[in-house]
Symmetry: C2
Subunit: 426 residues, 2 copies
Amino acid sequence: MKAEIISIGTELLLGQVVNTNAAYISRELASLGIEVYHHVTVGDNKDRLIEAVKTAEERVDLIVMSGGLGPTQDDITKKTLSDYLDVELILHEETEEKIISYHKNSDFKMPENNQLQALILADSTPLSNDTGLAIGMMLSRNKHHYVLLPGPPDELEPMVDNYLKNELIKHILEEQVLVSRVLRFFGLTEAQLAEKIDGIISEQTNPTAAIYANSGEITVRITAKAKDDDEGYKAIDKVETKIMEKLSDYFFGYGEKTLVEVVKDRLKEKDLKITAAESLTGGAFISELTSVTEVSSILEGGMVTYSADKKNKVLNVRKKTIEDFGVVSGECAVEMAEKAREMFDADIGVGLTGVAGPSSLEKQIPGTVWIGISYKGKESFSKHFHFSYKRNRNRRLAVLNALELVRRTVEDLPIDNREYYGEDNQ
Amino acid sequence: MKAEIISIGTELLLGQVVNTNAAYISRELASLGIEVYHHVTVGDNKDRLIEAVKTAEERVDLIVMSGGLGPTQDDITKKTLSDYLDVELILHEETEEKIISYHKNSDFKMPENNQLQALILADSTPLSNDTGLAIGMMLSRNKHHYVLLPGPPDELEPMVDNYLKNELIKHILEEQVLVSRVLRFFGLTEAQLAEKIDGIISEQTNPTAAIYANSGEITVRITAKAKDDDEGYKAIDKVETKIMEKLSDYFFGYGEKTLVEVVKDRLKEKDLKITAAESLTGGAFISELTSVTEVSSILEGGMVTYSADKKNKVLNVRKKTIEDFGVVSGECAVEMAEKAREMFDADIGVGLTGVAGPSSLEKQIPGTVWIGISYKGKESFSKHFHFSYKRNRNRRLAVLNALELVRRTVEDLPIDNREYYGEDNQ
């Protein structure tokens, strides 16, 4: 099956908004084996929308439109399709009730037009909107399938994921279910990961396996179309086993939990408190930990000691350590970790020191990083890294690699058998 | 003049890459008064590219293509245009030399194909690539103008900004120069700012004024087309004066410098050292300061005290302050600022405390934030904020508002005459 994506919105043509929807929809359709050959964007203009739909009808079976379902005069998508396909717009009562009740519970008076968001094309299958008011829909007519989705990504994405994909499977692809599983990896680049499992991925059409990189972590999503869940997960299991044969050492978790969330969970499970003393990362490591919820039971505080003087005077790193080894050293990183652990009564302490760049420090080049770990009942250790010449990439990679060292330490996994690094495409 | 943007790349249709180029090009064309009615994306496929170009020729004068200028077999844009327009591909010697010299200075052996990136369409105007190897170009033929740009945004954006816009001005719009100026504001939302200068912006066609919001800061870019620089800047001055009448109290600087960079510069100019004690922001404030270069002369370190116990035991905030007022209080924020200043020998100390959320703390709801400032020779003060229910939005807005309080304090500007907040669209 082939599809075409039409994005509707003058704000896209003015460049005020980047079109993330077309990429998102494409990726989800690809996971179903549906091919996309064109993305088209038009403004809030009836004639140009009809022209785009006509062109798409000549090329594909499935036309996915996003945008223009809101309550304002600019939101022309439903009216345009209603006129063009000669299909009535009718009230979707559930959505109407939702709109009324939403405004009852808020301080805002409901604008008259808001009920326009409850209109759907007659005979279409409604697609629920879990995060907004405008209902989506899918309509089949004259061998074509028309899908209408809201423009805001935080409404469109759950609608695609929770409803559209299953509708496509059931009614168009004539399969019963779609199941998927996400595996998360850290410590290699997207290209390195892809190379390791190249054969596995390219030989798959069902299940499909897709790789995404985001801020240092790599995810692999395995998606199976099947008659039922059981058959689907069995197919996924097989592919997962093959992938894990190559990548188990880089695996850190399933699902939507990022590395910092996994580390937080491990620390909570084991009732451990963490702290850090940071130099080159300047607070970014503790800030990453405190960006997730419910950390107060695992973190009481930490320290940023940017200058050598304050490493000694405030954190109590010995002068001799700094004089003998420099601040960019494993010895300094370990002592920072230990002193922070004492000061904040923690079970595990992390010391981060190095050269963020662009200038060198102690004749060491940017990207040189030492991470020290002090963990109760174990011998402290440090690990040396060399990242890049880019300041904020170095800071980010130091944070992520420190999290991974913490995870491996508290899970009692080997530390020295592999590279860490990861990819930062921020 | 009307334009159409054709993005070329199978990775876009698979959703592996979000198309930021179409938005970027649209925005830049809008600043020249060029209208865009369609974005089209096709894969690395000769027939579909030609079809898209033909369709665009029926609709517009200017066709801007991005992607497919690289050295691999997939990179078909130049060859396709060469065949379609019957224009030879010739070697651009400067680019060839650049490619050879680049590989001489690197560890990588030059792939044979790399010289393909030096080919341009005969009679086209080359567009230099300051950040990559593939040359861009503009060709005028049969009343149409064809622009070919590289796909990577970090190559395309400087090419558009530094070369394409001036070529369009000179050769197509028949004006002499294009000048622009960026004004930066903090402390109100994009919608509030837009409302304040609505009349000014809508009545402008030359200069144009465009508003962008990014991570709490709002920029207004004024762009003038003119015969020469002098005429252009005079026109910009007039619009700037009108805008500043409404917004001077929110203005913090010109150009590309963000709020944290402006704060860093002020501190350096005045030879002041800063520190912070952070609770709800958990290191994010100091991390923001250390994300910019050359901060070691203004920052020696800082402290994260997340628990009440460590506020007292490590930072030395008095037990009585915490008992009498709670940790979410102006009194605690001020004392945190003062204690951090003492500990790190700084001229200005910042204390950040509050409720990030989602849980409440001391019966205060998420979004409640107190920022304390301790500055040498002045009386310490605190300011109360109420942001939102979103944890990381609250943390981000606390960081930005603390930076703005520091700026106003060291510049001796009034503190209490306005709201701060700002918009966070992260």
